[in-house]
């Protein structure tokens, strides 16, 4: 029942700083970010829009090099993107020129044909896209495209997933279903997930721990442990208490 991070460490971020220089102006986006993520942990990074969440996630995934500090995964410094850790780009990342099957099989080029087809069939089923194997993304709804991108990521058996506001563009009902699916997949596959969101409820529903970021230049203000077992009752006293705590932390009022 204990959901505290596993003792084994998956990722460490040490004194990460990021300054963007453009047209002579420099924007100080990240300042002295320190973070440790356990193996198999589900961590949400929560913060207001524009505070630097995507920037932080991109440095962890190896798409950006931080101006200062170092990110280590499994003890090795991150030097670039790696197929063992897949970044999910809010559904816009599916390749529109490939079918559902083609997208899911995209990263499986090292497998034999038979293995690849078996893997594709498995993940088509896992994300509930049966019957759409030959469809192109343009023929899918937003939620289906999102599931397709998650399936493409999972198909290569990554031990880490980076998700950048993956459900932000979906309607609120689909969003709830997608959260449930993601939790189901995470419990089955046991990968480490870093999930960026600006939605407090989403963070408290999903995460083992929530890293709350401040405004720019962003630091991690606080890490909140969500000690509620899944499936979570979002009306329970503990849930509301944690949620209110984060509201206060972000300096938000409880009344509209």
């Amino acid at each position: 029942m204990s959901l505290s991070p596993s003792p084994e460490t998956k990722l460490t971020a040490e004194r990460i700083g990021m300054v963007f220089k453009r047209d002579g102006n420099s924007t100080n986006v990240l300042r002295d970010i320190n973070l440790t993520v356990g193996r198999g942990e589900f961590l949400c990074v929560l913060g207001p829009s524009g505070c630097g969440k995507s920037t932080l996630l991109n440095t962890m995934a190896g798409f950006l090099s931080p101006t200062s500090g170092e990110i280590r995964i499994d003890g090795e410094a991150v030097r670039g993107p790696d197929p063992r850790r897949i970044f999910v780009f809010q559904e816009r990342g599916v390749f529109p020129w490939l079918t559902v099957e083609g997208n899911i099989g995209f990263g499986l080029f090292k497998l034999s044909r038979a293995e690849r087809e078996q893997r594709i069939a498995h993940y088509v089923q896992l994300v509930g896209l049966e019957g759409f194997q030959k469809a192109y993304p343009a023929e899918l709804s937003g939620g289906m495209k999102q599931r397709l991108e998650v399936a493409r990521a999972l198909a290569v058996n990554p031990d880490m997933l980076f998700l950048d506001e993956p459900f932000g563009a979906l309607d609120s009902i689909t969003r709830l279903t997608m959260r449930r699916e993601l939790l189901r997949i995470w419990e089955a596959e046991k990968n480490t997930i870093i999930f960026v969101t600006h939605d407090i409820d989403e963070a408290v529903q999903l995460a083992d721990r929530v890293a709350v970021m401040s405004d720019r230049p962003a630091t991690i203000q606080q890490i909140v442990e969500i000690d509620i077992a899944h499936p979570r009752d979002i009306g329970s006293a503990r849930y509301l208490e944690l949620r209110h705590g984060i509201f206060d932390q972000l300096g938000l009022a409880h009344k509209v």
């Binding site: 993107p81 197929p83 780009f89 529109p96 020129w97 990263g107 192109y136």
Partner: protein, 252 residues
């Protein structure tokens, strides 16, 4: 209903032909041959074996000039677009050369290649090359970074990144560019043939006028040019409809 709708353009063309015929017969001076005379001209050309010969000659030049331009311009443009810095250096050259009509190159083409196929192929090449370079630069620069990042994330080698991500991502824009440029090539070949060679549809038009004011043949040549231009465009459009190539059009 659908049959009626489909017949509408046919009916419209028929009406125009009738108006043309009537107008020509009512006109006191000879302004144009009527449609019947033009049909006669086309039959005349077929009987002399000239129609096929001239069409083939024109298509031959277009094919060579256009293909050479595409083969050189597209990789060049894609490379320039990908390594953004080269564009800065080349931009002024392209910007100065591009607005020069391909026809302005006619004297130089004749100086370099003499009167013949090579000169007109060169002119078509010049007319197609710069628009295609620009199309390819734009196409590669408008590829969303997410696709490239996703490709890199899955561990693609640089070569695989080019043919599995970049190439499919630029195809729709390239096809539009190629279609427009093929239209340009077809315009240029007619002009080139009026001056630089003695066969082809452009030559037919000047020759028919010079050799005895055969305006029926002039208009016949124009009609044939229009029809073939239309067919070329339809051919390119059908390529754009291939499902795995047309992804960007179907995204609304």
């Amino acid at each position: 209903m659908s049959l009626l709708v489909r017949l509408r353009p046919v009916a419209f063309v028929a009406a125009l032909l009738v108006i043309w015929q009537v107008a020509v017969s009512l006109s006191p001076v000879h302004i144009l041959p009527g449609p019947w005379e033009v049909v006669g001209g086309i039959v005349d050309l077929i009987q002399h074996g000239l129609l096929l010969k001239y069409v083939v000659a024109s298509l031959f030049r277009v094919t060579w000039g256009f293909t050479l331009a595409a083969v050189l311009a597209i990789p060049a443009g894609l490379t320039i677009g990908w390594y953004g810095r080269a564009e800065m250096a080349l931009n002024p050259i392209v910007q100065i050369l591009r607005p020069i009509s391909p026809l302005a190159w006619i004297p130089i083409a004749i100086l370099w290649f003499g009167v013949g196929d090579l000169a007109s192929i060169f002119l078509i090449f010049v007319g197609c090359f710069f628009p295609l370079v620009l199309t390819a630069i734009n196409a590669v620069q408008s590829v969303p970074a997410v696709y490239v990042n996703a490709g890199r994330n899955f561990g693609l080698s640089p070569a695989a990144l080019v043919y599995r991500v970049l190439y499919p991502a630029v195809i729709p824009q390239l096809l539009v560019g190629l279609r427009i440029t093929l239209g340009v090539a077809w315009l240029v070949v007619v002009a080139a043939e009026m001056i630089a060679v003695n066969s082809g549809l452009g030559f037919l038009i000047v020759d028919a006028r010079n050799a005895g004011n055969r305006y029926d043949l002039v208009v016949a040549g124009m009609v044939i040019i229009g029809l073939i231009g239309l067919l070329l465009d339809l051919g390119m459009r059908s390529l754009e409809k291939v499902k795995s190539l047309r992804w960007s059009y179907s995204e609304e």
